[in-house]
Amino acid sequence: MPRHTLYVAISAFDIGAIATVVGALSCRLWIVPSAAIEHFHQRLWRLLGVGLFGLTVSSLALLIGRTMEMSRQPLARVWHWLPLVVHETQFGHVWLARPPVVLLMWAVWLVGRRPSHGGVAGVLMFLAVGIIAFTRSATGHPVDLGPWTFPEWVDWVHLMGGAIWAGSLLVMTFSVFPTLTDPDISVATRATLVKNLSTVAATALAVILVTGLWSAYHYLNQWGSLWHSTYGHTLLVKLFFVLGAIALGALNRFVYVPRIRAAAHNNSSPLIPARSAQTDPLRLLTRSAAVETVVLLVVLVTAAALLHDMPPRDARANGINSMARAHDRYPTSYPRLERAAVRPMANPSAIPTVRYGVLDFPGHTTYSTGPSKLSTDAIPLRRLPRRVLPISPHRLEA
């Protein structure tokens, strides 16, 4: 498996674990009506435990994966780097917040197993998972302006909004919908529950759209980059699936939920009669929510892929084509590690630039943005039209 895929998989797993925890807590705090808390609490708390276990594993995987990514060392050599990364890098310093917070969450999870403690425990865990989510925003693309900057907060709000939307649907699909038809759940409770789900999802979606649009423009630099960069292509795939999820959500909100509520007002069960099972709104909603969950999981993976791509804003700012990726899967030597694999700097592909000499991008197809006047050792590469990513005259330094 290519290393890049491994890093994306680890990020996707981590975001998925955050979404599961946030989703379970959202259901416990806002979606399941108080009248049905007793009924659903144990199931929700069990799934919350699964999410917490995932978060524990993903936190370790994230440290190992990011250490491999930064050091470009294989797994067998990464152990030497772990303490150095934890103590000497910004990622390590931010990551150090995770172990105590995860431990605290386990303690609160144990206390909150009793339904009577679930409310306070849920609020505490929601705050804790918010800190965990922030460690993601504080170690990714938004962090380069420095800590506590506006892009970090936008990224964090976007992540939390996405986790509420996708996580709530995931948890509803696995924990709530399967028992929603139990006889001890009243029709009114069912109607309230699906209405709450719809309201929470719609609110989260509004937050996601605002923060997502801002982030997209911020990292794309111009909308045309959607069509001319790897980052843009991945974003288009994400948008395609987000639109699919929005369409399914709209179907739920404007067709199925009103039908279920109407059935509740008529004091009749929305679960009707076997002969009309195909049009039973609650079953249709359950099915639709399950499909929406799957679609949102794909969105989650594309979001993880974006975290490991070079945004066109950087590519443009640095006069290189954004089809290039700045990942290097070849190990190189470092002054700080005597035992590191010492290999000469690999150079299967490179980008000649007027300003920096040659930028090396081993292992990826790269293109030049224009002739290099100064890099006499530049590898001849295919030229792209200047309109794609021009190097402006003021960038000439020498």
Binding site: R66, E69, M70, S71, R72, L84, V85, E88, T89, Q90, F91, T139, G140, H141, P142, V143, D144, L145, G146, T149, F150, P151, W214, H218, Y219, M310, P311, R313, D314, A317, N318, A326, H327, D328, T332, S333, Y334, P335, R336, M345, A350, V354, R355, Y356, G357, V358, L359, D360, K373, L374, S375, T376, D377, E397, A398
Partner: protein, 124 residues
């Protein structure tokens, strides 16, 4: 008329979104001494590259090689303290006239790696 929370939140949001931001995710050189392709009349004491993003010093290196491919820089390079982790520097001894290549390899604070090289000359 007292401003409502909604109006204040709206104004705050508008102001926040109007803040100009120029983020750089991967670190690339902003400038260097000597400059790319420069021809110098005397040997420099240090090779310095300023980057457009914060660097993880643990994973940064800066080496200088002569035309024969031998390393001539005195050290492996280090991120200079007090530079907001943006200046990478290495010392070089008195260099004889000729062509030299500077090789840099850095990891930005967002964990992404970039590397490159450039050439400069010293005239007789």
């Amino acid at each position: 008329m007292r401003p409502t929370f909604g109006k204040l939140a709206g104004i705050g949001l508008l102001l926040a979104f109007s803040v100009p931001i120029s983020a750089q995710a991967h670190a690339f050189p902003a400038r260097s001494r000597p400059r790319v392709g420069a021809t110098l009349s005397q040997s420099p004491h240090h090779i310095r590259i300023w980057f457009d993003a914060g660097l993880e010093g643990l994973f940064c290196s800066l080496t200088v090689k002569n035309a024969a491919g031998h390393i001539v820089s005195s050290g492996p390079g280090h991120v200079v303290a007090g530079s907001h982790d943006r200046l990478l520097e290495t010392a070089v001894p008195a260099l004889s006239p000729g062509k030299y290549h500077v090789y840099w390899s850095v990891v930005a604070v967002d964990g992404h790696h970039t590397q490159g090289r450039y050439m400069f000359r010293i005239n007789k």
